[in-house]
Subunit: 120 residues, 2 copies
């Protein structure tokens, strides 16, 4: 693959960039992946506590989407009270370094961005 500069972004369905962006453009997906990247497994409530401000509903929705995409796996223990563990799949793990790269950039440049904003 030589020429990859000219990407056609106009067809959202066929454009991987837009497709992926549409998934992780939501408020929580990226955060969940990052947090799951720190531990091997996490339970529902542990995730919610770590994120802090997410509602039960949005955590459920986010986890379902990520599971449907094959980025995380869900393991249910047949016991009372219920216990459900979430972890990254290999696919999810493969995304992690790219997100870390983004996080690093965020850490390095957030202050500058914040200052830019306050000027305007």
């Amino acid at each position: 693959m030589a020429e990859e500069k000219e990407i056609n972004y106009t067809e959202a369905e066929n454009c991987p960039v837009r497709n992926i962006l549409d998934r992780f453009g939501d408020k929580w997906s990226t955060l969940v992946i990052l947090i799951l990247g720190e531990q091997e497994t996490l339970r529902f409530n542990e995730l919610q506590k770590k994120i802090g401000t997410i509602s039960q509903k949005m955590l459920t929705v986010t986890l379902k989407k990520l599971e449907a995409d094959g980025l995380i796996s869900r393991k249910v223990y047949a016991q009372i009270p219920p216990k459900v563990e979430y972890k990254l799949t290999n696919l999810g793990l493969s995304l992690l370094p790219k997100l870390h790269s983004l996080v690093q950039w965020a850490n390095e440049n957030m202050e500058e961005i914040t200052q830019n904003r306050s000027v305007v």
Copy 2:
């Protein structure tokens, strides 16, 4: 007690990750940066054509936000008809490789994700 691995994601204002995510979590910002990364400069209409489906309003809003963050610069030519050129700033350029990394991942894994989804 607190290890460097343990990032506190709960305080959205102080967390660079969430701060940056909140900015680029919108539908268009990342796309605009990627497209501007291909050319040195682009005019408003050129951007709109390349994206294809974005409304005039949303392009305006997106460009304004990115400009406020200092990621892109805006150059107005005093002429009729008007001509406005957009380009990435150094800050914007520094983000580009990270986004490319994400794009590459998207290209490599979109098919798998799509298949996962259709299974569900």
